[in-house]
Symmetry: C2
Subunit: 304 residues, 2 copies
């Protein structure tokens, strides 16, 4: 039997890395999974669970053995790992294909260009699976995590077409829907749909927690508030790093939001009933349409 | 058998009014329920469903027959109904106790004082059940809607203690947890936990829907975005009216939030990792504590 990529190196074995290894083993995309990371207990646990076959603490060894390297570490660690990998591949002709699963793409592309004298490594294809779970760590890994979820690839000029195809095929074999966009578009879209909402939720909960009425506020809040603020329970270090990595797109996104909020504030202050109703109605229509997209995706998922 | 209030007049027979009538019939708080409203089909449907015994389109008749009047209409309609009721009760000594279920209290208190030459009617006790459903209308009414939910009463100086007690006993008989606070505190707390989040969700979805990348944005958004923006699917007219009725507290709330968002924006711009992590960590702690309160409430509800 032949495999699209015999050996996969997973850098960072948590929920995402572990779920990817499980999915690729199940789909028959690869037959050997080698873990690498800074936390040996996670790697040992991965072997115990049968998620990976083996692990190494030697990055050079990993690079030598793997056909494809998938960096599944948090945003800033991912950039650091990418720099190390590219450093070791200087002058190597046929190295492994390299991809990742981090939340921001611009900082990784910049790190790669810096490590390669301004050029994009032909076999580096950045990607981002839009999937997650409230649980974390390799124990929570799940072969079905990516099924019917989007994976965004951000290929660039200079990429080897075969490398792009391999990364696309890898994610498709997990059951994900793979789409492509530019690095800038990815970071803008993610700033808008994920990074900004996290910042707003953190800002709101922090503002209320510091107010004099905070006890009454949390005692009397209901379901709408619960849903709206759920993402404020996310990992502070992870979101700090994402905010740093996607600084420019996030700032643009904050400014766009603030401008719209400022207009709504003015409508409230002016008791501009028509203006408010117009905005709320337009927003409701967009949100209802988004809910329909999600419902359709859910239907497809159930129909299997 | 004797009833705390023999006859209840429900003004506005939708989800809230219908659920209240069902709950009070089940608890034995009252034995007769009379509907009143502008939409006769809802009232006919209420009789058909056995939610109310009877209805009238004559406000004077309703006032004459009821021991307690509960205004269950939307915010601005509620203020209008209250003015009409108080107009008809001018000079009457022992009228019915009056209460309501609207989302804002300050505008109703102001309307009442205006209708009564600056005085608070002794038998008017404003209230607000923090409960709802994605469904609406009398067909969705449910005797268990208020169970384990908060009801906030805002009694004022000049209220007859017996009237306050009757309204408290009414809500307690539905299984709700009744708390009291001042009108100003109520409106401030609700602005923070409900009215502001709705405005933020509307502003965010509207900003994104109008952006050039809106198609990619909604196509690539995931679970966190879905939860965060769910309330942007709420009724635009209802929220327009709430924003008008609670204008001052809402503006304060927007300004407090904007100040905090501005500080976070600065931290992002400065790549102030410590500042961001501190804010995110504080917010996460507050949100986790809130989740614990909700989980405990859920446990009590299941234990029945």
């Amino acid at each position: 039997m032949s495999y699209p990529a015999e050996t996969v190196g997973i850098l960072g074995l948590g929920l995402i890395g572990g779920s990817l290894a499980r999915a690729l083993r199940e789909s028959g995309f690869s037959r050997r999974f080698i873990g690498y990371g800074y936390r040996e207990p996670s790697l040992r646990r991965g072997v115990e669970l049968g998620v990976i076959d083996d692990f190494t603490l030697d990055l050079g060894e990993l690079i030598d053995r793997a056909d494809i390297l998938v960096i599944c570490a948090p945003t800033l660690v991912a950039a650091d790992l990418l720099r190390q990998i590219l450093g070791k591949l200087q002058g190597v002709e046929n190295g492994p294909v390299i991809t990742d699963a981090a939340s921001v793409k611009g900082n990784l592309l910049a790190a790669a260009k810096e490590a390669c004298g301004g050029n994009v490594p032909p076999r580096l294809v950045l990607g981002h699976p839009i999937a997650g779970s409230e649980r974390s760590g390799v124990d929570a890994s799940d072969a079905a995590l990516f099924r019917h979820h989007r994976v965004i690839l951000t290929p660039v000029e200079g990429n080897e077409p075969a490398a792009v195809e391999l990364v696309r095929a890898m994610w498709q074999s997990t059951g994900a829907e793979v789409v492509s966009m530019s690095v800038a578009d990815h970071d803008e879209v993610l700033a808008a749909t994920s990074h900004l909402p996290h910042l707003l939720a953190y800002a709101l909960v922090d503002a209320l927690a510091q107010s004099d009425a905070s006890e009454d506020i949390f005692r009397c809040a209901a379901g709408g508030f619960r849903d709206f603020t759920r993402i404020a329970s996310s990992d502070p270090v992870m979101w700090r790093d994402i905010a740093i990595a996607n600084r420019d797109a996030l700032l643009q996104s904050i400014d766009l939001f603030s401008e719209h909020l400022g207009r709504l504030r003015q409508a409230v202050a002016d008791e501009d009933a028509d203006g408010m109703q117009e905005t709320f109605t337009r927003a409701k229509a967009a949100r209802d349409q988004f809910a329909a997209i999600l419902a359709e995706r859910g239907q497809r998922s159930k129909a299997e």
